[in-house]
Symmetry: C2
């Protein structure tokens, strides 16, 4: 059996209607809604076929039909029309994303917050994977007799630092020299590379005093590098699920929130997804706990290079057209904002 034009139209109508109403839809209502001049009985036959093909299911005998994951997939791939964002929504997005850009993290967080607000779903975003980020600059700043601040700067403009309590004596000149030597040695190397190759561990200079300095600083250096490699996860709109009928069941809401709240695990799931706009529907998700969710993620780029992700998670019944448009528009705006500068404003 193949999908006739009419079957497609019926399926489209069912999916479209269910996405909005969350109610199973029956043959009679559908017949009226379609006004193609086909009777409920005919629709019933078609529906029966569609069910046999796996596009529809039945909660119980006397209920209407509900789209299956397979139907959503077909809908997303073929039936769905491009949703044009209203101009004012576009304007809001542009304004919020590009306004007040001081730190990448803040902008990304704002983007996530905006996303949940516009979609009424739970949104999330992760900062770029720093694997490919290169070290640009190392500096040691003496603050007082026993405290030195270790500062690292990456090519993308990310700055990290930590205060180090010094256990060996040092002079300002020592530190300046050490800054220069280390910068010379590590500049342009990827963060992960520096960590993996143990080149910090084996770092030695010709000067005895400096080696003692390195010795003191090494653990901090390693931990700050590790820290820079961590991607950060932002979420927003957690409580939005309470307004979704599917999650009116306390048990389901609990499972959902617990899944979302395993941040480490959730981050890994996101990192493992392919780049670009990716929609996974219900049982397409590799994670058991997500089997009745849909996940839409998209990729944003910093300097056209570093790659982060953001997206939404919600019931399989979601407005795929609208949500993808919103996500796309937001990522576009992020890309635009961080095109040249790597995180700092120069666009005023």
């Amino acid at each position: 059996m193949d999908l006739s034009e009419r079957k497609l139209r019926i399926l489209q109508a069912i999916v479209g209607d269910f996405i909005r109403s969350a109610e199973p839809i029956g043959s009679r209502t559908l017949s009226k809604k379609l006004d193609m001049g086909i009777s409920p009985a005919t629709i019933r036959n078609e529906m029966s076929d569609l069910e046999e093909m796996g596009f529809l299911t039945h909660p119980h005998t006397s209920a209407g039909r509900v789209p299956s994951d397979k139907a959503y997939r077909l809908y997303v791939n073929n039936l769905m029309q491009k949703y044009e964002l209203p101009e004012d929504e576009k304007r809001v997005i542009s304004e919020k994303i590009t306004k007040n850009v001081t730190e990448l993290e803040k902008t990304i967080q704002r983007a996530a917050s905006l996303l949940s607000e516009l979609t009424n779903l739970t949104s999330f975003a992760i900062t770029p994977n720093q694997e490919a980020n290169q070290l640009k600059y190392i500096n040691f700043v003496p603050v007082d007799d026993s405290t030195v601040i270790l500062m690292l700067v990456t090519e993308s403009g990310k700055v990290s630092n930590t205060a180090v309590k010094m256990k060996v004596p040092y002079t300002e000149e020592d530190l300046t020299l050490l800054s220069k030597v280390m910068t010379y040695n590590y500049k342009g190397k990827m963060l992960s590379e520096i960590l993996k190759l143990d080149i910090i561990k084996n770092f030695e200079t010709d000067i005895e005093a400096m080696n003692r300095l390195v010795e003191t600083i090494r653990p901090n250096f390693i931990s700050i590098l590790e820290d820079m490699l961590n991607v950060e996860l932002f979420m927003d709109g957690l409580t939005n699920i309470f307004s979704i009928p599917e999650y009116n069941d306390i048990e389901k809401a609990k499972v959902f929130l617990e899944m979302i709240n395993k941040k480490k695990h959730f981050t890994d799931v996101l990192l493992n997804r392919e780049n670009g706009v990716i929609i996974t529907i219900g049982n397409e998700n590799p994670e058991d706990a997500m089997r009745d969710c849909s996940l839409i993620t998209a990729t944003y780029h910093i300097n056209g290079k570093l790659v982060g992700k953001l997206g939404v998670i919600g019931p399989t019944r979601m407005k795929y057209d609208e949500v993808t448009s919103i996500i796309e528009y937001i990522t576009e705006n992020i890309n635009q904002t961080f095109k040249l500068t790597g995180g700092d404003e120069d666009d005023e």
Copy 2:
């Protein structure tokens, strides 16, 4: 009517039992449990008195009695016995708090996480209010031709920085000089003072070139200072409420989570609470949304000076004795850890 010894014992038993079981307790069960040789009928009379005095309520005619907020207050103030933490729990706390202390924020977050784990409640913590924190050190680090990193260090050892895209030419010497001048001017001043008195706005030197530098940097300087003043809010154990019978109702869970999720507002509530271990029960809370929660907060100190808070929020029916002991022990450990060093390890 006054509270006889017997009334107190009965009340104590009711509160104690209800805290554990969440079930209204009747005269018969209580009579057996107390084994003071008083009959259910007598207990009923006493209960009736206690109800009249406002310590007990009745969900409905044929249900057992339930403690009122007033009863919890009495329990907390007079009836409750000090709960001794088991040694192994103490050990776990000490280990987790003092281990791997690199950044204050991380330790506080870990403390919150630990707190929710041990209490099975929702926990939170805010980083110290930085109002009283003094600036210690200002430094400008040139990274490349057009980027300078502005770094601020406070007395407590907090380091913040931001990359600034420079719009005017500069030399390394300019920056070094500016660092020195500004440090000289601002060192020892409180962050809030620097911001409020507009002394940044009016900052001028004798040197024309330097004033142009200041001009470029000023907005970043202000925003980084503002940023440093923000307290951060950490939470953990959000989904713990789902295992609490009181919140088995989806509507209640929703209200709770939404209240908790207004982070800005919630932070303000915390900031406004007095220092020390503070327990507020149900309607003692000024916030409508918290009227059927209890909130326990405690204060921790950094360098014996800067003050942060942490605590738990949960149903009025909570194990006050156990929870306060845990919170106290955790704050003690934090105080100990940050006694001298202001955030950096030197205790190995």
